[in-house]
């Protein structure tokens, strides 16, 4: 009977030695399913393989591991190729750990790939604020809010759509009054003036959900 760590070593070895794209994908799903923090370095490595199927599996694995994967993801962000960075940011957005705030802000503001700005914008709205020290919450939320209000003017419709989704989620997390009061007018502007009906409709859906409260 193999010990737990020998089993994990075999799963990691299978990822490293797979000899086809499909073989890698399968091995990564198996490694992700082990849900073992010791798999994190390998899963992050896979994000840079230029194999979208494998990256989806590795991202899923990292997201289900959750906050334990955050330090390694943040640490390795810059050491990787562009594709890997994009996947890592997606993972960070999905894990919802507020330690990723600065990275998400920077990405939503300035990344050249719209799919990454899109993921960051949605992620900014859904950070788990309760993980921050109470004294830090308000300024962090203000930064997320300011960034999202800028992102509803992004040139790409899908980033604006994601920013609306982020704002809607943030509105639900913020205490009434104060900052939260900026969200409704921002969404109303989108409904009135955005050139893309899908974005207008998403903003309307967010406003409708406020009305029901």
């Amino acid at each position: 009977m193999a010990s737990p760590s020998a089993e994990l070593a075999a799963l990691i070895n299978a990822v490293e030695t797979a000899d086809s794209k499909a073989g890698i994908v399968q091995a990564v799903w198996a490694l992700a399913a082990a849900n073992d923090p010791r798999a994190i370095p390998t899963l992050i490595e896979v994000l840079g393989y230029n194999n979208p199927g494998a990256a989806v599996a590795a991202t899923e694995g990292l997201v289900s591991l959750g906050e334990v994967a955050v330090p390694a993801l943040l640490e390795q962000l810059d050491g990787h190729n562009y594709g890997a960075r994009a996947w890592a940011i997606r993972a960070l957005a999905l894990i919802q750990d507020p330690r990723a705030l600065n990275v998400l802000v920077e990405t939503a503001r300035g990344d050249f790939a719209l799919s990454v700005r899109r993921a960051a914008a949605k992620g900014l709205g859904t950070l788990n604020w309760s993980k921050l020290p109470e004294a830090a919450v308000e300024s962090a939320q203000t930064e997320a809010l300011t960034t999202l209000i800028e992102a509803v003017a992004d040139p790409e419709w899908v980033v604006r759509y994601a920013a609306v989704v982020g704002l809607a989620a943030l509105a639900a997390a913020l205490p009434p009054g104060g900052n939260a009061d900026q969200i409704r007018p921002a969404l109303e502007t989108v409904v009135k003036h955005d050139s893309v009906p899908a974005v207008q409709a998403r903003a309307q859906m967010a406003l409708d959900s406020f009305a029901q409260k």
Binding site: S115, A201, M205
Partner: protein
Amino acid sequence: MVLESQQLVNAQGEALTVDQAISNLRQTADPSLRYYAAWWLGRFRVRDGAAIAALVEALKDETDRAPDGGYPLRRNAARALGKLGDRTVVPALMGCLSCPDYYVREAAIQALEMLGDDVCVPALRAMLAGGIEAATQVEGKPHLVQPYNAILEALGSLGARAAVEEVAPFLDHPVPQVQNAAARAMYQLTGDAAYCNRLVQVLQGPNLQLRRSAMMDLGAVGYLPAAGAIAATLAENSLKLIALQGVLEHHLQATDFPESSLSSEARQVMALMDDLL
């Protein structure tokens, strides 16, 4: 939008003005400047009379030739004219339908589809002459004798109901992409959901290229019942979002949004989109 002025900067960070672009297009010394100017005028929707005249002129260009004998500038000029929304160029684009360059014909058909003037329908139907027996591969080229996908899609978008009998046989063309294009057109021409359900079947198939093309077809015709299948198919989220945007916006238009409130179907499509961001 506020960002309009930033978008006028090209990928290399160089700004062109409308006048520069038009004069770049008119000169003949540097073909790459002309090619880029034609794209730029379309990209930034320059609906200026002089720009349109220069693009129409470029449809007859003889100087910019590809190694295979093609006409790269003509292709770009046709694509740009499709984006400018000026129907006075329709006769000039129809003149391109007999160009020896397959890609010029394809670009012209797509431009005619975008301009939405059904005066080109008889000419497009004529390009289907001979049916699927005539629709064979050109030897040594990666394409069929005509750009059938573009022809079928244009006939569908233009609502050319008279063409149903010529379009239907292409459902059985040996090239799956052509079958997809025919199914999409048949749905637009007849409203029969069975044709879209063929495309939904493709979404469960093993071929990524075909899944992508079926998804974009379903988005383009706005087939609402396919929304769940689009969200679930194995393909890139970016493309799924574009296809679902098509489905959503088609439905929004049909339900008179924003004058009327959002339907529960619209909310469901947006919930699917939210999960793909």
